[in-house]
Symmetry: C2
Subunit: 648 residues, 2 copies
């Protein structure tokens, strides 16, 4: 059977981003996030909960003495940091930072046991207990993240030390877990190792690495359940009525039989990413179909307009179709990041606009909302509606914070943002044979190898604030196809080449341009970017009668500093006249949106009356100012809402 | 200083209810609830969590062997049962039931320690630890409930045994706790003993009983906090950020300084009831003012339209002003019952319609919703909006049940309903000097002693289904004043005496009729009872743009068996034509309400689109049928909503 051709991302090293949006995020990442995280990993942030991460590694390496500190998965924080460093070194060489990372890797090497085992929790708390609680104790999660870091660091620096460490660690895991008799027939309690093994396979070509990933995918959820038996052995039975039931682990049935997204959203997003990788690398159409089914369930029934996923704080989990509470939401930053991973992998399997649309939605909204504009404070939970009084006084909303926090004891989100931001250039382009897919728009220079030769191009745009995109093809094979994404939100556009209307084929959300390219050909894509009024499918009870404001890929919100309090009393007509303004000095540079709206008044309502049959609603004018959702909560604790009542 | 005259409830024994509403509830109480609860207390309900209640008493009495079972406050279940039995014996003598209760009291007597101590938890688990955890371990709560039972049983039967047991128990408590040096300066972790002591004082006239109640009220919340010190001693520190902080216990400051309702709602309601009792019995105006301040906070800012209180499942607690989530609500049945207690006590302090209005609201809605029509299944949580899928699939809503449950391991609500239902006749009338206050309307016969002589009257009405009320004054002192409540919901009424328009003075929600009464004078009060469309104060963000349907005191809801699914898509114009119909054979006999409403359609919304800027809202006709809220969930798990979107 002929192997299918899938698209390949143009790697970070081949794309130089120098716009004013992504590069700001990337700059914050290297100037603030990465150094700040290194301080955090070394317990040097005043007033923040200690991480214990490097300390654990040093104790395991015999360099310090003491006990294991922090969460059972604390090792993964270093892994994410090394991965972020690796990407950043590609586009921002920094010998001092590289040396710091090298030294950290030396410590990891010393911490590793002779048999390849590497997990400071069990090394420090009792190695005899290792592999007894694969459901909860994150050995494979930590290994997965460190393996992702190892591959990234190898690709960035050419240095094999961490890669070799992790190949030995994978060999150890293979000696303990697998289909063979005498091995444990288990799989990661928190997924990530699946996609890490696929990355490793793409570097090593060693089929055993891919086989282990496929084994994890196929073994997961089989009956009788390994996790149930293990929970019973540990006197921690899996209770079906608990939020931490088998669905929490995506393990209630084999993944190929799962109809939709379920359980802990970060686990889920990592699993689905690993499934998509295995589907691609093993040419497994049935597995791709399972991915598509789950993808559709997420993006058509369980995803917020910001790209946030995981509705319920109980188990940080998916809940059920069309259940999208805006204030009670969980919407963990890491879960949104996992959706970006899944989206890119689906885009590799099939170049369809719907995958890139979600990738864009989550990159411009639900992921970067997790970080303050200065890169030093973080949200775990990303609400779409906030009243600080409720966070303070109704404990059912205590997971929702009206301000980003400095650091978390369980610090999964900040370092995850770090590695995403540092690897952003790798999301812009995919290639396949002689086609260049342009997934996202931002100012950059790119080179890539196609079957028929090298392509070099430059892109210039003010995206996401302006929809005009100018591509200059410096060099290209003559028969190259340029596939420009037509965003799902875009209703009107023009494409010109060298000033003249261009021939194109619109297919699955991409505009395919094939022509005899000449050096310095100039492609001008102009995406009309009006203010849009968006409604949710009425199956989403929470959003009935409400509208959201979006412009281009950016979802907007009302926030108290611009609009005062009582935002839930605001209403807005869908046909309001919106004015937009570029404000370079506001919130790092934004396009603001203003409109004349209304407000439910208190006329007729004394504060001594709670319910009345005599008082009719009345509205008064209220001017509204919207800012991009991702930029909220950079001006102190405040009310905020994405969805606004529609004035009919 | 002259003592103020406060109103006095006409006791249960003086009021014979024989309508078709309250008496149905009372009949269910004696035929089903009381026998069912006795079975439960004796662990004889198949498939229900065992109570262990009687077993604990029998072990403590030396009649059985074993260990303490169930909650630390399990003794209170027997107390509430005895109290319910006491009231029921007044209006429905039952020698066999009385003998069962007498035998239970004999067991209680044997369980009591020689020094008066009575709490099976510590008697069975280690008496040396008694009184070491007054914050959490419910010794005074159990004593309070048993004391309330003792007074009720004494007043009902004339038998003093339980009363004497509890006087000894109170003496023991006084020997341990109080203002004197060497005693513990603590107060009940769960209030109820305060109001129980006031009841005891009204029977014994012993000032020491009132003094102890006043001590608890005054000591509560003083700094430094006894509860904080005790928590530290027990290595269970009170954490300010936890739902179980000092506010949970209404103990963050002295009660006279508390601005509003706070913390665990049942605790709060019992405390406020005890405060009102002490304010009355000690003629303490400042304490009455504190009661009024808290009353206003509850009823004007924190009460659901059903009378439910306690918005947050975290700590089963009040949250903050105007925070009234309909689906996430807690609204414990016991909390609504405590509001009825508080309302009646405020009505004793001042005959104002607002107190009786809330009493009526909670009696016809948020309390009795806690019980199935057949008296065998119970809600702990009383939501105003339910989607069974959410209860099943979003664990943050797992406290909300779409069906009443058979019994609870922590079974506070069912026996609390039992004692409320059995004592309903005692809420109808208050008297003061020569005035008879008619608080509630239902068919009954009543006699009472006024300063100038006996009054005997009969009331006939189809209330709450019809607003026509006919009172026949069989005998009355000539200068009697009849004070008929004009319900707050009533906009139009007539009063006639012997067919002619009557003179009256409308003051604070009561119509005062004074005349030279003759035997068989007939007073006809006709309260217009149209279907009302009610709105919430727009400060309640949750209910903006929504309406509720109410008729008389009865709040209505839409339920799935009548209306199908997707009730959150329904909308209704406030000026819709409502039709009402008396349906004697539906849900125990109800007036149903129907109207032509609308529904958000899915037109233009494929199930593959979650967000769209191209699809405008469209409505289609949908016929709506409303049933009384209290009668919901008697036809299987179903969607339900009280608040409906208003079509503007």
């Amino acid at each position: 059977m002929e192997k299918k051709q899938f698209t390949v991302p143009v790697p970070v090293k081949n794309v130089q981003v120098h716009d004013s949006f992504f590069s700001d995020l990337m700059k914050v990442t290297i100037e603030k996030l990465i150094p700040y995280q290194w301080q955090a990993l070394n317990d040097k942030i005043p007033d923040a909960a200690p991480s214990y991460c490097m300390r654990n590694f040093k104790i395991a390496a015999g360099m310090e003495t003491g006990e294991h500190g922090g969460c059972v998965f604390q090792d993964s924080d270093l892994a994410k940091w090394i991965e972020a460093v690796a990407y950043s070194l590609i586009w921002h060489p920094d010998p001092e930072l590289e040396q710091t990372a090298d030294e950290a890797i030396d410590i990891v090497e010393r911490a590793q046991l002779p048999d390849g085992y590497l997990d400071t929790y069990y090394i420090l708390t009792g190695i005899e207990n290792r592999w007894t609680n694969t459901k909860d104790n994150h050995e494979m999660y930590c290994a997965g993240h460190m393996l992702e870091a190892a591959v990234a660091y190898y690709l960035a620096t050419g240095k094999r030390k961490l890669l070799d460490i992790m190949i030995r660690c994978v060999e150890h895991i293979r000696s303990v877990i697998g289909p063979e008799e005498g091995k444990k027939h288990t799989y990661p309690g928190h997924e990530v190792l699946e996609m890490a093994l696929c990355k490793l396979y793409e570097v090593t070509g060693d089929e055993r690495h891919l086989d282990l990933a496929r084994y994890f995918i196929d073994e997961r959820g089989k009956a009788p359940s390994y996790f149930v038996a293990e929970g019973d052995r540990n006197d921690r039975p899996v209770r079906p009525e608990s939020p931490f039931n088998l669905r929490y682990y995506q393990a209630d049935r084999p993944v190929r039989e799962q109809e939709g997204a379920e359980g802990h959203a970060v686990r889920a997003g990592y699993l689905y990413s690993g499934m998509a990788d295995v589907a691609r690398l093993t040419q497994d159409d049935a597995l791709f179909e399972a991915c598509q089914r789950i993808w559709q369930d997420i993006t058509r029934r369980q995803m917020y307009i910001t790209g946030a996923i995981g509705q319920s704080a109980a188990g940080e989990s998916f809940s059920f179709d069309y259940d999208l509470p805006n204030a009670l939401v969980y919407g963990e930053t890491c879960a949104a990041i996992s959706l970006a991973f899944f989206a890119q992998r689906m885009l590799r399997l099939a170049p369809r606009g719907e995958y890139a649309d979600v990738l864009e939605r989550v990159l411009y909204n639900g992921t970067i909302s997790g970080m303050s504009l200065d890169g030093t404070k973080f949200f775990y939970v990303n609400p779409l509606e906030v009243d600080p009084a409720r966070c303070a006084h109704n404990h059912q909303f205590r997971h929702v914070k009206p301000e980003r926090q400095k650091w978390f004891g369980c610090a999964c989100c900040p370092p995850n943002l770090g590695r995403l931001m540092a690897s952003l250039p790798g999301y812009l382009y995919h290639t396949n044979q002689n086609t260049v897919y342009v997934n996202l728009y931002t100012t950059n220079d790119m080179t890539a190898s196609l079957d028929a030769g090298e392509v070099t191009l430059s892109m210039q745009t003010q995206y996401p604030w302006d929809g005009a995109v100018r591509l200059t093809v410096h060099a290209a094979p003559e028969n190259m196809t340029l596939a420009l994404r037509k965003p799902g939100w875009c209703r009107s556009f023009t494409v010109r080449v060298n000033g003249a209307p261009a021939e194109y084929e619109l297919r699955d959300g991409f505009l395919y341009l094939t022509r005899a390219w000449a050096a310095e050909d100039c492609v001008e894509l102009d995406l009309a970017m009006p203010v849009m009024v968006v409604r949710a499918n009425p199956r989403v009870a929470e959003d009935i009668g409400k509208i959201a404001v979006q412009r281009g890929p950016v979802v907007y919100c009302l926030e108290e500093p611009d609009n005062g309090k009582n935002l839930q009393r605001v209403c807005l007509a869908a046909d309001a006249a919106f004015t937009t303004r570029w404000e370079p000095d506001t919130l790092g540079g934004i396009v603001s949106i203003e409109a004349d709206g209304s407000e439910w008044t208190l006329a007729g309502w004394n504060d001594d009356v709670l319910y009345s049959e005599d008082t009719v609603p009345s509205l008064t004018a209220r001017h509204l100012r919207f800012i991009p959702y991702y930029a909220w909560a950079n001006r102190g604790p405040a009310e905020m809402t994405v969805w606004v009542r529609e004035k009919l």
